[in-house]
Each structure stands twice: as structure tokens, then as C-alpha cells.
Symmetry: C2
Subunit: 336 residues, 2 copies
DNA sequence: CAGGCGTACTGTACCGGTCAAGAACCCCTC
DNA sequence: GAGGGGTTCTTGACCGGTACAGTACGCCTG
């Protein structure tokens, strides 16, 4: 059975190919009865609908948006916050009639998703800003929106008020009376800058500096799963240990809680711990974490709105979503 | 600046368009020096590489694989197990030079991802087998592989030994001496059949029937987050409560543990709870869960291998991955 | 030195649609 | 009854590549 195309239907019905195309794509361009007839013939021939690839070429758009993430996707999916973001993005895109294509950062030279995959626009999510993939996107003049990422002139962006939120978290510890404060965060390698990590660090310092508190900082690269635990252990397993710890994420915070427990410290009696993100982990953890809430779903929706605007030729203003402090049971005044 | 195509480069260098195409796609078809010259000219003109959409049409394949999931994507991403599966799939695809496109089940009639998005093949993941989207895929004669899904003649499949694993779990409770056993699982609506739910139910019964134990079953539709908790509460908050509970997933098991705690029951002293999946939740939970381990990453890799085989014209044999029981601290002999 | 063969490049025909402009026709209006 | 304006359908070009069957030519072989 030969492939069914617009032409075969046109021949069958005795109209032009264009009319058949219109029957599918622009119903208002032909009479209702002819359209019925065409659709019936199409159905009979087993036609499925206009071929997406051909349509993409002819129309100049594919109907799907890419999402560029660096590192293996596993990390992104296994992190509750980015998973929630992806979910929000994909739901919102679906609602607007677009699909989501995941573009892993290129590993070899052969296949570079950012260069070789057909998409209409791209969301750049917490990517190493120096990644070659971003350069490819720019060469393609690909419409893009950066999310949780350095803001650059002329590129639409969606961010969260990381700095403000971190400041609230640090202020909270200060107000509880903590003076010896530790920080467990991501490495802020100036080369491979993680934007949220930098912003949060700035925010913590905003509040701590104002209070004259000099924090002890331990960092870890994100990759190894137990890394945050080890870092926290190193921070806590010393004589002059902090009484309060600010963490990069809820996952980091829970690792810190576990590290504290392994040293026989109780949270929050002996140690206060503050997370970030207010992911599902935070409320479900033991103890429930005091953390900085961000609207991940809203971030996804905003990102889709922004890329839609860019695709429509606009240049939407940068979006910065608010953060709020959620006080639960992992913080208390220091013991002494 | 006009768009740069193969033709403009061909004109510039003074060769045919086909030769330029070969320079990019089949380097062995022309001399090295001419290729160099062409690539240099392309670079100079700001050419990015063959247009993915055009290439997809001409070659008849797009280089990306779709993944069909029902319900909003949010559920999939927020569930640790499916998130890990997605991660594994996308990593493995990337390694083979393909991208992953997410195809949400269609909500309206206008836009049906399974019909309208260009992909080479599709992984069907825990979908309602009656979903219209699957029918669309079949009409398109789309190469497909079903995962965690009813096996059908002639369609490649990747599954986990849900039944065997569930049997092990039930056997474990029986061997510990439990005779009053509860089950907290998904609704097994015969219409919208969740394949793993049905298989696991069969597996539990395999062991319980053999031991002459008649379980008390409570079910919940997946959607509402607290549903499993409520169901577990209903199961436990009665005089003749079970001493052991078999759960559909680790998430269900943790909900059951929380429900038990809210009734003042200790796990495992007063109640044994067995999960399923051995997701990150299981080991991290309090108490660490006895559960049935499945190799989610292997499942993703197997799924990609299968779809690759199907795309290559083969019809790979059904894959069934093993499950094993992992005994942790949420199970013990019954109190009496 | 004719015949055969491998290499390097070209020509033409698609792939399966959509766009934009035009033609045929009908209804109305002045 | 000529002219204006709407529908409805058709025509031809084009989207930007790739497949495949040549053609031209140098070199080896007998």
C-alpha cells in the first residue's frame, strides 16, 4: 500500500491538492460539504493527517520547543525542583499545542542536539553559560529564553528572586540569635557559574554582613550524591561548629540534617538548618524544613509565556518571581 | 542577510549543491581538500549546518524519539520512578544521537501530539491502552515499544517482573508470620487498566492464596496526592486491622507508614509495610522500607535498545526485567 | 590501446506539504 | 447590465535538503 499523501486524496476526490490541504489546516477556506467529502475520502484511504516533517519544512516551524540542559538528564530528573519545572513547562506547552523536546548538552562532535534538532525555540535551563551548545543556538538565531540563568542583554529571561530569598533565610537565622552560621552550597567556580548558587550566596551575605556575621562556607560540586552530606559533616565535625546552617537546596539541607544526626546533634535544638526551594522534600522531611519557597510551577508557566512571546516576535521583559520564607521545624534559637 | 542554504555555499565555492551536502553529511564522497574549502566557505557565510526540518523531510527520519505518557506530565515527573526512567531513556537516546520528545496525551481535538509531532518512533509508557493516542500511533504505523504496559502481539515490549516481585513481597510477609494482610494499591478499573497494578495484584495473590490468606484491599485513583494516605487510614483504622500491608509503590508505602503513625502504630513493631520500586524514597524513608527492587535505569536502556531495533526493522523479543526483594526495616514478625 | 574500474563530482527528481496570487462564479448594487 | 465584493477552488513556486543514477577522468590491466 503506497503512502497516502494529500495528492492521493486530491486525485480520489477530484480536487486540487491545495484544497485537501485546506480541508485539514484551514477549514474556513472551503465549503463545509466539500470538506466533509475530503475528510471522508482521507479516512477511507487511511490518511493520518498532514505529515509533521513536511509541514514543518513548509511552514517554517515545527511546533515543538526545545529545552537545553547541561549534564546528563538524569540529574535534572532526579532533582525534585527541576523535575517539577520540566513538568510545568511541558504541561503548559501542551496546553498551547506544542511539544517539548529535550536537548541534552552535546557530548561528542557528531551529534549536537542544539544544532541538529528541529525546534522553534529553546528554553535554556541552568546551563553552563560557556557551553558550546548555547553558541550553536545563537548561530542558528534560535529564539530563546534563559531560566535560572545569567541575564544577558536582549535575551528574555525568567528568574527567581534567589538573592532576596536567601537574604530572608539568613535574616531568619540572625533574628533567632545565631551568630555562628555555616553555609553548605554548590561550588561557585567562576568559570562554570551556577547562577542560582551565586545569587543565593550574595543574598546570604546581604543579611549576614549587615549583622556582622562571618559565615563558614563549605561547598561541593553537584555531581556526587553523597557530596553534600560529606561537606556538611566536614562543617559540623569541628569544635567551633555553627549553630545554624544555610543550605543551597532542600536536598542539601536534608543531607545536613542527616550529617548532624550522625554526630548526635538534634535539629533544631542543637542545630538550625534552612533549605531552599520548598520542594516536596521540605515538608515531608524529618523534621519538616524551614526553607525558602519558590513557585516552580509559576516559573514553568512564565518560561512558556516568554518563549511564546519571543516566537511571536516580541521581546518580553525579564521576569523575576518572588520568593518567601517558610518557617517549619528545622530552625530554633541557638542552645547557648 | 538572506538565509544561508546549501545553494548559497555551492554558488560561493562554485560546486554543485549536492557536493556541499556531501561535505556535511557524507565526507567520504569528496576529496578532503574540497571539503575543507567548502566548510571554510560555510563558516564564513555563517552557515549552521543542514536544516533539521528539511533534512527530516528528505531523509524520512527526524532523529528524535517520542515518549507518550498519559495524564499531565506533572504526575510523571513528580513520581521518582518515572522520573528516573525518563532520565535513563533520555541519556541513552542522547548517547545514540537522538533526542527525546515528550508527547503528552491529547486533551483537545485540535492538537494531538501523537499525530502531529514529527518523531521516528515512540515509547508508550504506562498509558491507558484505550487512549486514542495509541490508535493514532497505529494509524501512522509508527514504530513503537510499550513499557510497563500490556503486551500485545507483534509489538515490542519492555516490562518488569511485577508479578514475580509482588509475589516475593507477599511471601516475605507470610514467612514472617503475618496472616492478616492489607493491600494499598491503585484502582484496577477494568476499563483503564494500569498494567503494573494488575500484575502486582496477581503476584500478591499468588503468594497469599497459596498461604490461604485473604487480603483486605483498599484502592485509590492515582491523581490526588493524599489519596494513598486516606486509603491507608481507612484500612488501618478498624478493629481487626492487618498486621502487614503490601503497597503498590514506595510512595504508597510511606503514606501508609505515616497513616499508621498518626494512629499511634509503630512500624515495624505494630505494622509491617512493604513498598515497591525501591526508589530513592525507600532507602531514605523512616523507617527504611522493605521493598521490591526494580532496575529502572536498565528499563530505560532496554526501552531505547528496543526502539532502536524496531527502527532498524527488527522485532525484538519482549523484555522482562527481574525484580528482587530488598529487606530493610519496615517489616518484622507480627506482634501477637 | 581498447576495456574495465574506482574516485570525484553533477543533474534531476523527489520528500509532502504550505503560501500567495489568480480565476471562476455568484450575488448585489446602482 | 457593467462593476464591486465575497466565496471557493486552482495554479505554480518554494521550503532546504537527500537519493540515485549518471558523467568525466585518471589509472591499471592484458
Amino acid at each position: 500500500m503506497a503512502k497516502v499523501t494529500l495528492q492521493s486524496i486530491a486525485d480520489r476526490v477530484g480536487v486540487s491538492r491545495m484544497t485537501v490541504s485546506n480541508a485539514f489546516s484551514r477549514p474556513d477556506q472551503l465549503s463545509a460539504e466539500l470538506r466533509e467529502k475530503i475528510l471522508a475520502a482521507a479516512d477511507e484511504l487511511g490518511y493520518v493527517g498532514p505529515d509533521p516533517a513536511a509541514r514543518a519544512l513548509a511552514r517554517g516551524r515545527t511546533g515543538s520547543v526545545g529545552l537545553l540542559i547541561n549534564g546528563s538528564l538524569s540529574e535534572a530528573f532526579e532533582d525534585a525542583v527541576s523535575a517539577a519545572f520540566l513538568a510545568s513547562v511541558s504541561d503548559e506547552l501542551a496546553a498551547r499545542g506544542m511539544a517539548l523536546t529535550l536537548l541534552p548538552a552535546s557530548s561528542d562532535r557528531q551529534f549536537v542536539p542544539a544544532r541538529d534538532v528541529a525546534v522553534d525555540g529553546v528554553l535554556v535551563y541552568i546551563c553552563d553559560p560557556t557551553a558550546p551548545d548555547i553558541a550553536w543556538l545563537e548561530r542558528r538565531r534560535m529564539p530563546m529564553v534563559v531560566v535560572d540563568h545569567n541575564v544577558r542583554e536582549g535575551i528574555a529571561s525568567v528568574n527567581v528572586d534567589d538573592r532576596g530569598g536567601a537574604c530572608l533565610a539568613a535574616q531568619h537565622l540572625v533574628e533567632l540569635g545565631h551568630r555562628r552560621v555555616g553555609i553548605v552550597t554548590l561550588e561557585t567556580d567562576p568559570e562554570v557559574l551556577n547562577y542560582p548558587a551565586r545569587e543565593r550566596m550574595l543574598g546570604w551575605h546581604d543579611a549576614l554582613d549587615a549583622a556582622g556575621v562571618e559565615p563558614t562556607v563549605v561547598t561541593t560540586p553537584y555531581a556526587p550524591p553523597g557530596a553534600a552530606y560529606d561537606a556538611a559533616l566536614a562543617l559540623l565535625d569541628r569544635p567551633e561548629r555553627p549553630t545554624g546552617v544555610l543550605c543551597f537546596s532542600d536536598a542539601f539541607a536534608l543531607a545536613t540534617v542527616r550529617a548532624a544526626e550522625s554526630l548526635g546533634l538534634r535539629v533544631p535544638e542543637d542545630l538550625s538548618v534552612v533549605g531552599f526551594d520548598d520542594s516536596v522534600l521540605a515538608a515531608a522531611g524529618r523534621p519538616p524544613l524551614t526553607t525558602v519557597h519558590q513557585e516552580v510551577a509559576a516559573k514553568g508557566i512564565a518560561a512558556v509565556a516568554a518563549i511564546t512571546a519571543v516566537l511571536g516576535g516580541g521581546s518580553p521583559a525579564p521576569v523575576v518571581l518572588p520568593t518567601t520564607l517558610v518557617v517549619r521545624e528545622s530552625t530554633a534559637p541557638p542552645a547557648e
